[in-house]
Subunit: 359 residues, 4 copies
């Protein structure tokens, strides 16, 4: 059954496999009149691209976006927008060894069982390469949001045991793109980078956390009771490869708190109703309240490691899986634009949906 | 825009407000042939019901379910099932004080802004009373799942700073319903109960964590790339009132781990392909792999407290909000059947969707 | 799978069976701020009600609507609106004879085959009684449309071989509700009424055509390429019991025409772009163009007749079915408010959807 | 808002414009395991292709389908299938004359009003070229249906005033593809062909009717109450360019009939429950009953004619529109595979949906 579509009114459908002709996305429901070029899209794709730095996979992909429809003279026309990104560096032979064996903590086994057939090359459809299509669509969502002043910024918060020390909050975002880790605190970034290199040397991988801040979100986004804004943000994040957890506002920390310390008191600042604190994370009753929205996303360590691992094949026979292919020692630096894209797609959808709340 | 519908093929729409005629749910897409009675539904509603113990709100509601359609001679007929639960103890006058003022960390402000009108009595639509409708629908989903042997068990894992000590894992579930907290470890349950009573005496509230285990889930549930099983479970949980975070399998802990320790190696036990460890939480690539599914859900402290709190009214004037009404000092004991219900609704939906994977 | 939901953003889900507790509808996605009372809803229900005149079924149903949620102090609140209409005159014993036998041209056989179980009393879910729920929802849709000046008028165009003579066009609608047939041409109405009585005396039934005119529809409603306005109107009409055909604008007549006579030339009348003719029926490329929308709907003769008919039972044995129960000799007079309701629901949905076309 | 998606579980989204890079379709929800090649798809595209005979438009398009994803080693994998058809013969300069003026009975005016911008070249998104994408997707739907023995055959029934004489029914389909009109009655086909040539010589166009027969449809397809099988077939047909009407079974003829002559009596033939007549058109209560499904679709004359026509431009100034470009004198011969495709897509969707009816 269809599962490759996200969004109710700003709706994307992604397609494509890791080692097929390419991957892409069709956006249906994008309003007419948004300026967009292939160059705009390339900017975020470059932030997600393999080979962008020494601490990511060295697979060679230029990830060049082609707008195939829906844009006329550099403006959206209200009709479906297809963006296609050809695959270039398809070393499919790297994957012959997993044609029959199941890689540990990958989707090989479950795809085989569910569909009875799978494109095993590079994980096929289950490859994180699919997220390039989301990043491309996210650029258009960001363009729509920018009309309303909404700003979305994601960054690396944690790599393995290394986090930004509490005393550095609130963060300055100026340096995020100045280091390959995309951590806004330069000293921590340097430690993270060194640690990732060490992990890679071991032929191993490590997990991390990406956090995201949304500024200037209008009041009123989110549709109770199921399509709460944070519920859709959570689903969006959990749909990204390797994500294991999501929290917003006070998150898991709130479980230890008392109501009297957690409640955000309303105040009137210069005629604008605000809250004095923001444990709510900018969302109350599932609806944005105009304060900053913030959330965190936990990524597990990449499953592909260089060491040989015991496994089984389709017939249940013992098999040894060795980490060929080229992969990331830590996924979070490249996950930053993906988190932003999924946040933008969620907000764009809800921004439009909110237009229908009143007669 | 519609937001009160959940599920693609086993699809529920809830309706109703805290202090209107009642609340209810229409289930469309339930297969024909499932045995169901009002008595079946009452069992889980009683676990969610106010007044069930000394540590929950003392609002008096029998929460009696009425099957209004879709069931004939105690079997589902494949047509929409409407279950209606009348409101009984509607002390609307308790809420006159919030007609104009916004309660801190409630949805009063955001509903007013979004819709320009709100039923202020008891929070109206934003009240957690709405979840009774979900529990009722969840009973039918559980009936469907029980045909396939699926067992869903939620329990309280943490209240404030009190958690079940690690050494008691794996847990025995036998005693969950024997204490008012619904914690499977009796000693911890006693501590939690005492703590909740203490918090209530202070006129305060406290947060907590509910965890859930799903056993015997068939292989193949979950629809890549967006409707991953855990993404839909996450959305389902985040759509419950007061939830601030969701993690499954290794969760946020995975961010600190290395791939070599996190990967779950496949094995062949008596002709069945299993994993030796289960950091994946029973889901790989968004699809169930036949191992146990487990996840945790963080609940913030209830926003209604007895103490007076500063706030503002619709016009931005200062206002003092006092905690009248009758509310829970800690929501997690009553949240256990809600978490189970949302898990059951998600799995029922995906169980049916998975029927369409192959020709 | 769910099939009882109609509409994308103004979305209704109907529930209930002919001889259960009642029938009803949940409207999710209705904007906040629309004035509505139970009395408003009763007006159109009375136009659809059994027993309203001598030429319709004499089943006794007051069809009293109860607003169960979503309305506060006589205004919609943006939350789901449940309207419930209790069944009153449930002579279920009238239907014992069809418990096992299949009535010709009814849905008994197909429901039994599809679901393996059916509520046989009065056709259960397949009864046209379900359309009362649509009429109730349609009243709210009409209220929304009236904000924009949209006027929807349906009427009986044909009963059996009797039609309104061509020379009486354009029609005056003043007299539609003055005769029990709901035909705007009094002389033709009288002929139709006499004919229906004759048919009833024979224990037989007869088909007919309902036409509908939509005035003041804004330009821009309809979403290419599949959700063309007329495609959704067509689906809406074809989803009504007993409907066998739909045509809009020039309809089937257009198949005989040449482009040079069919094309509607644009003109500028007092600064407004209009067409000189209206073969397009107010819709071009699936989008409303501001001209009048008109369409016709063919209804087959009611399947329940008084005469005994040969049939088979569940086991394939020969069975004789006799027309007990109380039914309409001709369905079109009562179908008029149903056609209006489905048109209103379609337009309300598209009116809201059209808000999203531009940035 | 999205309108380019059709189907609930076998779901297609088309994209592309007449004179952009190409047109295409993404199919999400196609089950795994269906054999498919580009050659299979080309067969039906050739039946829809411009330039295939002397009586259709002479625009030169090879309409070569490229499978971009979702197929591995010639089998569907259960992941989204993108089929892309490049545009080749894009004489965009032919359309400079309609950049500002609105062609009569085209979608130029409504697109401009709705979106505020339009790709005017060849009608852009509103061009019937979009239907090539549907035909491509329809081939895969047909492959799925052929697993269950379902056969879909469309043919031309009427061109202008010329119809197949009644006495030739039931029709033999052997000769449909042997004449350029696709009419199964050779003598009538010859008359139609001559008439189309005559109309073309006049620089004019003419309408027609396509009928369709579905054989071996399983019992149980169709989801009451809104997604009745014929309601979805109707919507599918009405979503095709130039369609003005739809009827199934006895259709508009039924309005003149009495119940006693219209009812289809059940019978038991060799242990199979059938109906003696088939006014129901194979569908009862919105659900297929195992008999043949048949319906007819009315097409208006193509709006582009060679003669000059009066019109207005964007500013409401008078403008003369002349029929440049290359167009069809009569659309129905090329509409035959489109009608089949939309029927196949509807049935494939419902075939899968019907799997969910029982526990």
């Amino acid at each position: 059954m269809p599962g490759s579509t996200y969004g109710q009114v700003f709706r994307i459908t992604t397609y494509g496999e890791s080692h097929g002709k390419g991957i892409g996305v069709v956006i249906d429901g994008c309003p007419a009149g948004i300026p967009i070029t292939e160059e705009d899209i390339a900017i975020d794709l470059d932030r997600r691209r393999p080979g962008q730095s020494a601490i990511v996979t060295q697979r060679k992909e230029s990830d060049t976006p082609h707008i195939m429809s829906g844009v006329f003279e550099d403006f959206t026309t209200g009709t479906p927008i297809n963006i296609f990104i050809p695959n270039e560096d398809q070393r499919s032979k790297d994957y012959g060894h997993i044609k029959d064996a199941f890689r540990p903590s990958h989707a090989d086994f479950t795809y085989q069982e569910k569909y009875g057939i799978r494109d095993y090359r590079g994980g096929g459809r289950s490859s994180a390469r699919e997220t390039a299509a989301r990043v491309a669509a996210g650029v258009i969502a960001k363009k729509l949001l920018s009309h309303y002043g909404v700003i979305i910024t994601a960054y690396v918060d944690q790599v393995g045991h290394i986090s930004i020390p509490e005393e550095n909050y609130p963060l300055s975002f100026a340096t995020i793109e100045e280091n390959p880790v995309r951590c806004p605190h330069p000293e921590t970034a340097a430690k993270m980078e060194a640690f990732i290199k060490e992990v890679r040397k071991d032929g191993d991988t490590v997990g991390g956390v990406v956090s995201c801040l949304i500024q200037n979100c209008p009041i009123g986004l989110g549709e109770p009771v199921f399509d709460r804004l944070h519920a859709d943000l959570g689903k969006a994040m959990l749909s990204i490869n390797a994500v294991k957890g999501f929290q917003y506002g006070s998150g898991f920390r709130s479980a230890r708190m008392r109501g009297s310390e957690h409640n955000d008191l309303f105040d009137n600042i210069d005629g604008k109703i605000v809250t004095r604190t923001n444990n709510s994370g900018g969302i109350q009753g599932g609806i944005s309240n105009g304060m900053e929205i913030y959330f965190s996303v936990a990524f597990k360590p990449v499953a592909t490691i260089v060491m040989a691992q015991e496994s089984v094949d389709k017939d249940g026979n013992a098999a040894l899986v060795e980490g060929k292919g080229r992969h990331d020692p830590c996924v979070v630096p490249r996950a930053v634009p993906i988190v932003e894209a999924m946040a933008a797609l969620t907000l764009a959808d809800h921004l439009l949906r909110a237009r229908l709340a009143k007669v």
